[in-house]
Amino acid sequence: MNNASLLPLIILLIPLCAAPVLLALPERSAGLRTAINLGAALVKVLLVAWLSWKVSQGVIYDLRWTVLPGLDLNLQADPLAILFIALSAVLWLITTVYAVGYLEKGPHRARFFGFFSLCVAATVGIALAGNLFTFLLFYEMLTLATYPLVIHYGTAAALRAGRIYLIYTLGGGLVLLLGTLGLWVLAGSTDFVPGGILEGVAEDTPLAAQLLFAVLIIGLGVKAAMVPLHSWLPVAMVAPAPVSALLHAVAVVKAGAFGIIRVVYEVYGIETAQALGLTTALAVLAAITILYGSIRALGQDDIKRRLAWSTVSQVSYIALGVALASPIAAMGALAHLIHQGIMKITLFMVAGNLAEGLGIKQVSRMNGVGLIMPGSMAAFTLAALGMIGLPPLAGFVSKWYLAAGGLDAGQGWVIPLLLGSSLLNAAYFLPMLHRAWFRQPDAAPQDAPVRRPIGWMLAAPPTATAALVLVAGGLANAPFSPLEWTRFIVTLEYSAEAF
């Protein structure tokens, strides 16, 4: 059942229209800005909830607007879109609260929140994109909207990071443009259709289809930070904590991962991709990324940099799950899209709290912070344990499904891979927890920045997301849990007999 109502468009327009208003607001009208921010985020959450409900009832929203002959802007709310959009809606709300608290007295707040909103709009667009062309549009918009956020502090270091970020992501966007064009020429359409649109083409010109896949994956892999296109991510962590949180959890890396999901399932179709041997290549790439990211995370002393390397590793679980070509692994991958988001956002927000409240930015200075900031560190602990993959936390659920999916697909090597990755995760997360909880706090050095007590706006968001980590894992089988929703998606993507 298709529905042409404007609901998806409205959801897209809320942050999109909020952005110019926020940009135009004078710097000093903080109250109004906060009200607009939170109001928009709240309304969006409600609308997304409503949309999710409708979609779960089998309604598919489909809006089209012809841009170039034969080429449409297409907003489509299918279950996969809902998965991503729900993540963005909820985390936007939480991050907004956090960002308001974080930047309470900082400069350029109007600009920050304006682009923040724009960034969310781009994410919504990416989620709702019904074809690769629309996806590309919002993908580029995301790049542009996040750039001012990455260089928010306007220092030389931030600008350098921003330049690297821009080079990588715009380059990736360009490659994706090439891929989109290629798809358009090859298939005559760029629509996302369950089962793919390349079936016949792939049989006729397998080489072209394979090349196209490589181009598309390179274009998307830049944002998904797959090795060797990952270098921008650890550098981009100079951004303010809320930005890093959003970048790593929802917006940028997830956009890439989400694109990979779309391309594998709805452009190529899993069977075609498998037949062309593309899934294997993707899985190998993902495996390399997973291990490399974790290994590099080991040696980092800067908290945010360590977390960033961890993201490099964790996001590729999604690609891995997609590439395993098993419905069970697909569930793991899709669930990880959500789970990694809520875990990583927690970690980054707490890292921000440490920097903001205690001036602590290095792992080696984390001694005893658990005793000083028990609430935040408890959230951090939950998220970190989840990252390692301990039950009943969210990360466990996705890892379990990935492992089970690997076995299901007859790819036993996934198990040692996951084990190795978990081991490495433990090796870089547990020392942080150990320091935080079981060491005595260091004496503050003389030149330490003034500690300021963190307000509820900084403390509550990580707590909330940590609770989500627990709930998403602990209640993984409840209706409307991420896992259940992925089950719903996977039944659409895979033919019925796969179950």
Partner: protein, 488 residues
């Protein structure tokens, strides 16, 4: 319903600005009101013409009822109506910007006095070019444009501007004269100059010579690499609204003529097209490199014009063996995109210079004043020029690359991508300057420099960005009257 007296919009859009120019010259104190009034009037007429084309298809008016081949015909099909609409539309917004800019108390009397007559003359010439259907008429209009454009270039009266303007003058006149000689050859061979008469002519040495002369002349006037030498200084040293007009509109006139010639004069051989494409590549590379090296904001923008013109030629050249029947669409869209975005960019650059007091790129980040809206306009215009979706520039690039891919011309795709990356590189130099804050001690004031003058560049920039969503209807409109013969 009352029968409207059939107003001849074609004639009107050419002569209304001309009349306005004379009037503005005669009434120097009221020049700006006369000027704006005339532009608004022209814009209204242009919209009427667009509507007419939309409802009736291509419109033809024989001037003085002489008719071709003897008399002068004006004709508006989709393409010319689009470009005319673009000219008046962009011109209107630039006029509004200029109104503010020249009302500035510091602006010398001379500027206020001569800008409007010159600009209206230019508008008349531009509209004339787009609506002409014979070669000689084109020559005259080209000369009109040249003179007005040179006048606009030297308006500021500074020595650099005069020097650049003189250089421009030479190039411009030489280009026009080459064109004129070409016209002579055509007449020698065919005995007529109207487009219809050219269509079926078989190749001959005279026509070949004509083509060579005209291509060279137009390349010179449109600043195709390596004949671009006059452009950067001329565009960079003019006052902001003048630069906007020169860069956005003037070069488009000769580009348009190239498009038309490609259709009517002779079927371009593949080698010639490749040569043109090659020069386009040269323009992209050289223009970008110079933009990367430029030390002043307006110079950078001017060099980017060189690169962008190169891209239009690449779009044109990717036709290859297929002729221009398809490739003109990409070229036309890119022209449109460039016109709107570049006008926005020059106006914004002018605003930035006005607020900050200089336009040295290296020191943009030292300024405690950040004219936010102008910077935003600049950034939005840059997005369109770079060709990121959903801007108009993106639509143009998409069609260009799609066509190239369909015909298997991978090298043009590579060129386009390189052009995109280079444009990102040079524009980001500027944007970085806007966004860096650690170079000055005092707190940076944002939201400073709000002015009505920001409205024009911002509107233009938003148009450049948003019109991409309307690319399909624009393309459909341009195709009215089948400017390039494509099957109905």
């Amino acid at each position: 319903m009352i029968e409207m007296p059939a107003i001849d919009w074609l004639t009107a859009v050419v002569f209304a600005p001309l009349a306005g120019a004379i009037l503005a010259f005669l009434l120097p104190r009221q020049a700006h009101w006369v000027g704006v009034g005339a532009v608004v009037l022209t814009a209204l007429m242009a919209s009427a013409l667009v509507l007419q084309v939309l409802t009736e298809g291509a419109v033809v008016t024989p001037l003085g009822n002489w008719g071709a081949p003897l008399g002068i015909d004006l004709r508006a099909d989709g393409l010319s109506a689009t470009l005319m609409a673009m000219t008046t539309g962009v011109g209107l917004l630039v006029s509004l910007g200029a109104l503010n800019s020249y009302a500035h108390h510091r602006a010398p009397e001379r500027m206020r006095r001569y800008f409007w007559p010159l600009w209206l003359l230019l508008l008349s010439g531009l509209n004339g070019v787009y609506l002409s259907t014979d070669l000689f008429n084109l020559y005259v209009m080209l000369e009109v444009i040249s003179l007005a454009a040179v006048g606009l270039t030297v308006l500021s009266g500074r020595i650099e501007a005069v020097r650049a303007g003189l250089e421009y003058m030479y190039a411009s006149i030489l280009g026009a004269l080459l064109f004129l000689l070409g016209v002579g050859f055509v007449y020698l061979e065919l005995g007529r100059l109207d487009f219809a008469g050219l269509l079926a002519a078989p190749p001959s040495p005279a026509l070949g010579a004509a083509l060579a002369l005209m291509v060279a002349g137009l390349a010179l006037k449109t600043a195709l690499f390596p004949l671009h030498v006059w452009l950067p200084q001329a565009h960079a040293n003019a006052t902001a609204p003048a630069s906007a007009l020169l860069s956005a509109l003037v070069v488009k006139a000769s580009l348009y003529i190239v498009l038309r010639l490609a259709q009517y004069l002779l079927p371009l051989s593949e080698v010639l097209v490749a040569l043109i494409g090659l020069l386009g590549v040269g323009a992209i590379l050289w223009g970008s490199i110079q933009a990367l090296r430029a030390e002043r904001l307006k110079l950078l923008v001017a060099w980017s014009t060189v690169a962008q013109i190169g891209l239009v030629f690449v779009a044109f050249a990717r036709a290859g063996a297929d002729g221009v029947a398809e490739s003109w669409k990409a070229a036309a869209l890119l022209m449109l995109a460039h016109a709107i975005a570049k006008a926005a960019m020059f106006l914004a650059a002018g605003r930035i210079k006005e607020e900050i007091g200089h336009d040295r790129i290296r020191e943009l980040d030292r300024s405690p004043v950040r004219p936010t809206l102008a910077q935003l306009s600049f950034a939005l215009a840059a997005i369109s020029l770079v060709g990121l979706p959903p801007s108009l520039g993106f639509a143009g690039k998409w069609i260009l690359m799609e066509g190239a891919m369909t015909s298997g011309y991978w090298h043009w795709i590579a060129v386009t991508m390189i052009a995109t990356m280079l444009s990102v590189a040079y524009f980001s130099r500027v944007l970085t300057g806007f966004l860096r804050f650690d170079r000055q001690r005092t707190t940076v004031g944002e939201h400073q420099g709000w002015a009505l003058a920001d409205a024009a560049p911002l509107t233009l920039a938003l148009c450049a960005l948003g019109l991409g969503l309307l690319a399909a209807p624009i393309l459909a409109f341009m195709n009215i009257g089948y400017p390039f013969g494509g099957a109905p």
